[in-house]
Amino acid sequence: MSTPCSDPVALGLWHPLAAIEDIPPSSDQHTRLLGQALRYRKDAGNQVAVFDGDRPLPVTQAYGYVWTCLGTPARPLFDLPEYAEPDRRNVCAATVGVRVSAPRAVENFLDMGHFPFVHTGILGVEPHTEVREYQVELNEDKDEILATECIFYQPQAAAGASGGIMADYIYRVPHPYCSVLYKSCPTDESRLDVIALFLQPVDEETVRAHALVSVIDTQSSDLDIRLFQQTIFSQDKPILENQLPKRLPLDPRAETPIRADKVAIVYRRWLRAKGLQYGVIPAAA
């Protein structure tokens, strides 16, 4: 599974490699991206350099993570303005290896219907299984997907939550391998907590899933926040690793969607329109 990537779309994207705070300073680190072995190194000033062999690669440091691009970046990394808000806790919650393609992992992140069955007692609980109608749009200017008015019953929506609520969600897909979730903040009704999933496609069927949590929460410790996200990610893992095929099929007749999957339908269509090849099974022409 390590044939080099020849997909120009994937080669032109920014990809996350590691949480900057987790990189030991002044020592070479190794990882893989799009089937390619890479080396990266953090200097004393917290600046990270990334190399493909001896070739230096472009670097962006954003949202707690170091990002690189194997080709020529088609555009700057997407905006996540909440990250800069002064009263937010920004926590790099975990980096987890999962044997699945990046698009399958994005779709799972966009899915509410699995909460009662996979995140039982935390993000959902039976019999409260209904996924109500919600809105999805493709914002052509920003080239990103937005799903709004997503409502789901949650027994414990976040590390700082106690008791069940009808949680409000907004999902953004600003990047084929990244998604950002905004959800009602249990401690401040006027604000939204942010959970972002940044996927590093190690190869077509393996990812490192990086999580960023950006919350208004004065009570939970960083440790609580990280452990909560690690639990959620690890609950998804056996599902993702048991999906067949591991790459996301873009043919509309590959799988059976329901109304709750509206955002996934738009996501698959969007990937198709981009001509993305890496991590998907393209639709027959």
Binding site: T95, L223, Q235, P238
Partner: protein
Amino acid sequence: MITLYDYELSGNCYKIRLLLSMLGIRHEKHAIEFYPAAEHRKEAFLAINPLGELPVLQDGELTLRDSQAILVYLASEYDTSGNWYPLQDPRTLATVTQWLCFANAITASAGGARLADGFFHPLDADACRSEAHRLFRVLDEHLWFQERERQDWVATTASPSIADIACFPYIMLSEEGGISRIDYPAIRRWTDRVKRIPGFIPMPGVFPAGPGL
């Protein structure tokens, strides 16, 4: 009160949580972040366990490390039935101990592949996988013949023992290390039976079973 130094994603810690739950023992948990913070290798925790390994159990004055040792202690001290660790029956006790050691080999192999793939530990994942498959073949064969003799559990006990608890987590999590269980049908049936032991609790990565017949 019993305190368990615990990491939720650790299979070794899960063994202890399982037995505590199945025996209905009240306890509190103290979370130690194994990954990415590696708190178990930091000074505060090394003072509790100089080996820097999870789990650790404290019961009053007693501080115990090593998941198998903790299982032995909890079953000997708190299981009034005497079934989980049959101290009265040397032969059965020996088979239980034999499978406790086997469980360590599963942790080193199947658990190692999971650490390499999921948590990026510098281990030889392929070597771990082939060793795990070798062990799984042995266990599947054993469990198949156990089934023929109407024995449900890994040791020759009439009800589950701590050997079942010790073997269960890293077998159940083996797919995270790229080790499929498709070739081990007797192991798959046994994992269903373990999941149906009263007091069973899941962990992230392990689903509960449906009701038995």
